[in-house]
């Protein structure tokens, strides 16, 4: 068959299609939320700015938590090429440890502690203990199971999956420790009384939780601390050099094994810190590990692996899509469509991967 002579270059169109679809979807989502949004719970943003602001803040604060957790995942992957499938289990165990420590500090005896009985130390000490304990478990995991098979990335992923299966089962078998509660029950810790209240933002009359805003602050603080550590200290310099070229870095006389161990401990501790926060934010239960493994994966796949800025972008995008889809999908007849929000997670993933397979800020591997 002879090729038709045409000025229309369909190949170019096909190549540009993903970008077009991505831009089109983004514009449509913005227009929908801001001006249209028929038969939703909240209505368009121009009509009810308060609801819009609350959704936005919910998204930003969730993004902060996602950043804390996913940055640990991304740090470990970026340096060691280890996909730590036990990251969600680390978070789960960290959450239960924080709960146990807060219980013993406040003499909770297995009952939910009221935030009025919790001072700042009753929250901070459990979080620090959890981070330290999981950091230790992370160190053992890395030294015993991952140090001797560097570079076999699939084997390492399988090893961490096995560890996550064991940890998850052990958590269900032993936690909560109190004999009065059934093993594997959902638990939650309380925010300190000082921040467990609403504050008037003086914008559209919105009252918002101080604890959530503290979470946002914590996320920003972790981000700044990580940035200072990676870009302003010698250890950070070595880590970035290791990300770029592991062999060359160790050839220059750097003890890369120590750097690996430090990065793994920090990454695991960040998961536990996220777990401590999440235990106050929503509570942990035995399915939390899978949920947070998904969150970490989506954030780093969207943002690009091994990049702080990518993790920030991925966390923001995913958390905003997640929160806005819950509030701004139509609810006609109470039967649709909020429950379809998982599909939007897939759409986000598909759109990003279609035009940037390495993620928004990732470099081609």
């Amino acid at each position: 068959m002879r090729r038709a002579v045409s000025a229309f270059d369909w190949r170019l169109l096909v190549r540009r299609l993903p970008v077009g679809v991505a831009v089109g979807t983004t514009v449509f989502a913005l227009v929908w939320v801001l001006f249209w949004a028929p038969s939703t719970n909240f209505g368009p943003a121009i009509h009810s700015p308060a609801n819009f602001l609350i959704t936005l803040l919910n998204g930003l604060t969730l993004a902060a938590l996602m950043f804390i957790v996913a940055s640990g995942f991304s740090l470990i992957f970026g340096l060691m090429r280890v996909v730590n499938m036990a990251h969600g289990s680390f978070l789960l165990l960290g959450g239960y440890i924080a709960y146990e420590v807060q219980q013993s500090m406040t003499n909770g005896g297995g009952l939910t502690v009221f935030s009025s009985q919790v001072n700042a130390w009753d929250w901070l000490v459990p979080a620090i203990v959890a981070a330290a304990a999981i950091g230790g478990i992370g160190l053992v995991t890395q030294q015993v199971f991952l140090r001797w098979n560097m570079g076999q990335d699939l084997r390492q992923a399988l090893i961490t999956i096995a560890i996550s299966v064991i940890i998850a089962d052990q958590v269900v078998a032993h936690f909560p420790l109190e004999s009065s509660i059934e093993k594997g029950s959902a638990v939650n810790t309380s925010w300190p009384g000082a921040i467990d209240r609403l504050v008037n933002l003086h914008i559209a009359g919105v009252q918002y939780s101080v604890a959530r805003l503290t979470m946002l602050g914590l996320g920003v603080a972790v981000g700044i601390a990580l940035w200072l550590w990676l870009y302003r200290t010698k250890t950070g310099m070595v880590i970035r050099a290791g990300v770029d070229d592991r062999q060359m870095t160790s050839a220059l006389g750097v003890n890369i094994q120590v750097t690996f161990a430090i990065a793994f401990v920090v990454g695991a501790s960040l998961a536990a810190l996220g777990g401590a926060v999440f235990t106050s934010y929503a509570g942990v239960n035995p399915t939390t590990d899978g949920q947070w493994l998904l969150n970490s994966l989506v954030v780093v796949i969207v943002g690009g692996l091994g990049s702080i800025f990518g993790t920030v972008a991925g966390a923001l995008l995913y958390a905003l899509v997640y929160n806005f889809s819950i509030s701004y999908l139509p609810t006609t007849g109470g039967d649709c469509c909020g429950q379809y929000s998982p599909v939007l997670t897939f759409v986000l993933l598909a759109l990003v991967l279609a035009f940037r397979p390495q993620g928004l800020f990732g470099r081609p591997a």
């Binding site: 090429r81 399988l158 560890i163 052990q170 078998a173 998904l294 796949i301």
Partner: protein, 357 residues
Amino acid sequence: MSPFAWHPRPMSEKNLVELVIGVTLLLFLAVFPVFGVGYWVSFVLTQTFLIGIAAASLVFLTAYGGMVSLAQTALYGISAFALGNMVTKGAVKGLHLGLDPWLAVVLAIAITTAIGLVFGAVASRSAGIYFLMITLTYAVIAFTFFGQVTQVSGFSGIAGIADRTPALVGDPVTQPNRLYYIALVTALVVYFAIRHVVRTPFGISLQGVRDDPVRMGSLGYNVALHRTLAFTFAAFIASLAGVLYGWWNGVIAPDNVGLGATVDLLIVAVIGGLGRVEGAWLGAFAFVVINNYVRDVSVPVLGGSFNTVIGLIFLAIVIVSPSGLMGLWDRLWDAAGYREGSGPRAAAAAGTAGPQA
């Protein structure tokens, strides 16, 4: 052999031994229901066949495409959910469309294959460990979807699939032998289909894509398309397992496609060996038997349940013999001094499979 220009290697001593073992096993399985214990027919072996089919789709992708997919459980779940929604009728959860059982089977397979095409296309520019991560998100998304969307499932899932099977299948509870033979035949067809596909020009170039995507791309092969089609084929295989699972279990619930089930299928494939398709059924058999006899045992010292046991076994296998039981067999054979049978398959085993994005 196949009509394509492929010249099979002359059969080595090892191939011959494996052929004899395989045929003997098959003859044994073919007559097993005549004198076998009903429980082994209906529970252990039928389950082994259908889990093995799902695991074979994962082994196919890993061994020949360099793509470790964690979405195979989700895909067979999608197939079973589709079947359940279309075939059931009356007062059950889901859409209960009450379609003709055979039509529902065809549609369930078609829907799953189409979803596999979309999933594959989205992930097709990644391979290796990245592919693992992307497909894991598919698995969790599918789990959340079926848990939340009460129109097609809801948390308790869809029951009554076994009451609406085609006449050929009959009632899986009172006539377990029929499902046993159907699962056995399907497993055989899947096994030979995979062995055939990897020998076709498509299969050969897929293995080229696995080993060196950049070079294959510069030779003019469409790397992403090969991966997408391989994934679609694997989704088709997984959909067969899903239909069988629907009939066998009668119920499909979100928990059947959850993270635990996803990891279980990976464990099955790894125990059997990610390098060889036969390993899928070997791993499935080991998994079902362990599951069956360790379910109620409490673990000494540590505490915990079956999952701790299977996790420890999985950990031991990945550390000691990453290419699983089939890899162990290959190594034992080599160690015994019969070296002429050493093929390229061992290179595709877990841990040494090196294709990275």
